[in-house]
């Protein structure tokens, strides 16, 4: 008896937290094949106003019909989706969207301009405390958006800025069903049941969610939009597998079809032993850098920072840290925080400082640092050039890189102590500027806003972005009209009036073709100052079973446009 009840428990285990099976809708078009994707984390919440995990965004992208679709070719490309047409006013402060009429929510309620307005109303609401509130910070309150009728709406901006950024601010949030969420308590939106089983408007429906195990997407059979958005696969299953080694074994066994972030040392072996896998590079999504804290006297002089960069053989480090077994390098030398993927904006003309120890010593000597006591380390006023390089633990690449850096700088007469901190402490210290030098990283933004990282860290005055062209005229006091704006992510306290000027000019230039030269100049100015030693941009390798066709794997997403993915009839692996 005991054995029997244990068996019954086994058979039902894991079914807790499951949302109901698909009911009602019948198969409305032909589909075949199943795609199994490994993800590291489970989803938390599918209300895009408050969600934050990667799995959340994957599922959201599948279940909601977006205002526009994005493609990527050197910059974000806008593809009509719910919005079929958009029109800018001459001064670039108003955009009018025209929407499709035929999209409905799964329950048949039409999706209208009001649903978009509802999303933006939620984001702005202080009770919701949405982390995405920056989307509305340059929108005029009450006019962001203005609903004209069910298929037309306008967004009014306080001023014109980079059009790609403006566009992303008004389209990054999908419309939400006002008829279902309108009455919801906004203070507890994150706990609303809709976040676990959302009503779809897009190609897919979240048919099943088993907490900690998997999310099952099935076609939204009530989808009313254009035929090309109708999925060709039966199902997409997102399996939660936290451990890298386990994901790799599942991939090699063929029990998962797609895996992200394959480690470079595994790439060659996979290619050789598993010809059924396609290994796709996603370029330049994240970078590593060394931040030199300019609140520390050691790093105030740009000459010292240049010397430190010159003393490191960054290409050699890349050859050691970002390579597969055959020696192929999966990265690119970085010269700034704008990703090379944004090829129209990235400044390719910047010459990275070449590795040259003698040159580094000369630069240090010019800055007053020479080895007077013959201990092998340079000194000035009786103090040797010595500092602590901090990084977060749990990242083997950065751990190895810090040892390389320590060794290179020693050869230039600089003493480096290495410190590894738990990620939480590390990032808190960065924010508090409580460090000497830090080995850290950024992931790439796909539209340009360098202000968060490079604008002078504390600005008193009229918010320079809110008043077009006016000269801020404030004293040091914070009053009603004069605000203090802190750029907290300027960890190094970098401040260069020329860079500030270029950033503000760039942000106020709506047309991308016109702002690109400004951004290129800004990159050069910053690179010359070497507030960071920019190390490298890294590729991400995605492994995907080659039976899938029409796959989209690009800088935007490791598995984009899932509705287009298909398996030819002769390669179908799972019947269901």
């Amino acid at each position: 008896m005991r054995t029997l009840s244990l068996l019954a428990l086994l058979a039902t285990a894991g079914c807790t937290g499951e949302s109901g099976p698909t009911e009602g809708a019948t198969k409305a078009w032909e589909t075949s094949g199943t795609l199994v994707i490994a993800v590291q984390e489970d989803m938390d919440n599918l209300i895009p106003i408050v969600s934050q995990s990667a799995a959340d965004s994957y599922v959201e992208g599948a279940v909601y019909f977006g205002t526009i679709d994005s493609g990527f070719d050197c910059s974000l490309k806008k593809i009509p989706a719910l919005a079929t047409d958009w029109e800018w006013s001459d001064d670039g402060t108003v955009i009018k969207l025209t929407l499709r009429e035929d999209i409905t929510w799964e329950d048949g309620t039409p999706m209208t301009a009001k649903d978009i307005a509802f999303s933006y109303d939620l984001v702005r609401d202080p009770d919701v405390a949405s982390p995405r509130i920056s989307y509305v910070q340059h929108g005029i309150e009450g006019k962001f958006p203005v609903v004209i009728d069910d298929t037309h709406l306008e967004f009014h901006f306080t001023h014109a800025y980079d059009r790609d950024t403006q566009m992303s601010h008004i389209t990054a949030l999908p419309a939400l069903p006002e008829h279902l969420l309108g009455e919801a308590d906004r203070g507890s939106l994150r706990k609303h049941a809709f976040g676990k089983s959302p009503m779809p408007s897009g190609s897919w429906k979240l048919a099943k969610h088993e907490a900690g195990q998997r999310m099952v997407l099935e076609p939204n059979w009530n989808f009313t939009g254009p035929d090309e958005y109708k999925p060709k696969l039966n199902r997409v299953i997102l399996r939660v597998i936290p451990e890298y080694a386990t994901r790799l074994i599942e991939l090699e066994k063929g029990t998962i079809d797609l895996m992200q972030s394959v480690q470079f040392e595994d790439v060659d072996r996979l290619a050789k032993e598993h010809p059924n896998l396609r290994l796709v590079r996603r370029g330049w999504r994240s970078m590593d850098y060394i931040a030199w804290n300019q609140q520390n006297d050691l790093f105030k002089d740009a000459k010292v920072r240049r010397a430190l960069t010159t003393a490191m053989d960054i290409d050699h480090m890349m050859g050691q840290l970002l390579t597969s077994e055959s020696g192929e390098v999966y990265g690119k030398r970085s010269t700034g925080t704008i990703t090379p993927a944004l090829c129209g904006v990235h400044n390719d003309d910047i010459q990275p400082l070449p590795y040259n120890v003698e040159q580094a010593k000369t630069l240090l000597a010019e800055a007053g640092w020479t080895d007077t006591d013959g201990d092998g380390f340079v000194d000035k006023d009786g103090k040797k050039l010595s500092f602590t390089l901090t990084t977060n633990n749990g990242n083997p690449r950065r751990a190895k890189a810090s040892v390389f850096i320590q060794d290179y700088l020693k050869q230039a007469g600089v003493e480096v102590n290495i410190e590894q901190l738990a990620a939480n402490s590390f990032f808190e210290n960065l924010r508090k500027k409580d460090y000497d030098a830090a080995l850290s990283g950024w992931s790439a933004g796909l539209f340009v806003d360098p202000s968060t990282i490079w604008h002078s860290d504390v600005v008193r005055g009229i918010d320079p972005q809110s008043v077009n062209g006016d000269t801020p005229n404030c004293n040091d006091e914070v009053t009603d009209n004069c605000v203090e704006k802190r750029y907290e992510f300027n960890f190094v306290s970098y401040s260069n009036p020329k860079a500030d000027e270029l950033i503000e000019k760039g942000l106020h230039t709506p047309v991308p073709e016109e702002s690109a030269p400004i951004w290129r100049e800004m990159q050069q100015v910053i690179y010359d100052d070497q507030p960071y030693t920019f190390l490298w941009w890294m590729d991400e390798v995605i492994a995907v079973d080659s039976r899938f066709e029409d796959t989209t794997i690009n800088v935007l997403s490791p598995f984009g446009n899932l509705h287009e993915w298909s398996v030819p009839a002769d390669k179908i692996k799972y019947e269901r």
């Binding site: 244990l6 386990t246 599942e250 799972y574």
Partner: protein, 322 residues
Amino acid sequence: MLKYLLRKLVLVLPLLIGVITLIFILIELSPGDVADKFFTPETTPEVREKIVAKYGLDKPAWFRYLLLLKNLAVLDFGTSIAHGEAVTTLIGEALPNTLILSVVTLLIIYPVGVALGTIQGVKHGTVVDSGASIVSLFFYSMPSFWLALMLQLYFTLKWELLPTSGMHDPVMYEFMSTPEKIQDSLLHIILPGVAMGVASAAGAARYMRSSVLEVIRQDFVRTARAKGLPERQVVSKHVIRNAMLPIVTLLGLSLPFLFSGSVLIETIFAWPGMGRLIVSAIFSQDTPVVIGCFFVFTLVVVTGNLLADIAYALVDPRIKYD
């Protein structure tokens, strides 16, 4: 007996408060807080303040501590900050999965450990004994995560005998009949069960061996042999029964070890249980979940101890609790 158990239960309360206080202090001392999860370079300071206020993180630590105790007094574990779900829901999802894994592991540990230890004790000094000693020592000293990875590598990738991870087949499970579902679930539990149980089974075998050796030298065993009982009966009726006594205690005490072992094993085998829940909660500094999990852990430890006490009294009539 009842009095003894009641006295033990009363002692649980200060123990729980102690554990919770300690955990709370540890979380407070670690830098950063759960609200960090919501911050990006685009998050404005005003929003940050609102988020922090929303989760009560702007209140002083003593205030939050007292609030926590007050809520726990009425068994209100609160809501997970990272997941936006009631802590009881999250634990309710994870606890049964860990319990299943623990039960299966216990089923592996005890029969295997007891059998191996008995054989070793009976065949004391022979090649069988030394061979088994080497094997059990090998598994006893092996890190469970390494064993887990090796099991995956050989049993799933090389020999393709068993599924690699998860609780059931991710693709076909919902299309299976009930017997197939049971079979599928059983197949999925073997590797994590073995990975978790093997080291403990090796430990149990070593306990059992020394226990058998002690018993086998006693007078009543000599008497049994002297009256002409076949050796098989001597071992099964007289030796094993008496040698099992210390092992029963071990049973209750191994429950907490199984729970802490689940932290690694559940991560490697993608098993959605308490171990994984607590790891992710600690990393995201999700205080309500961490406290809730440790609350449950403490209860498990106490229950394990109590069970050991009761079991001991049941199997050994000489033991009386006053």
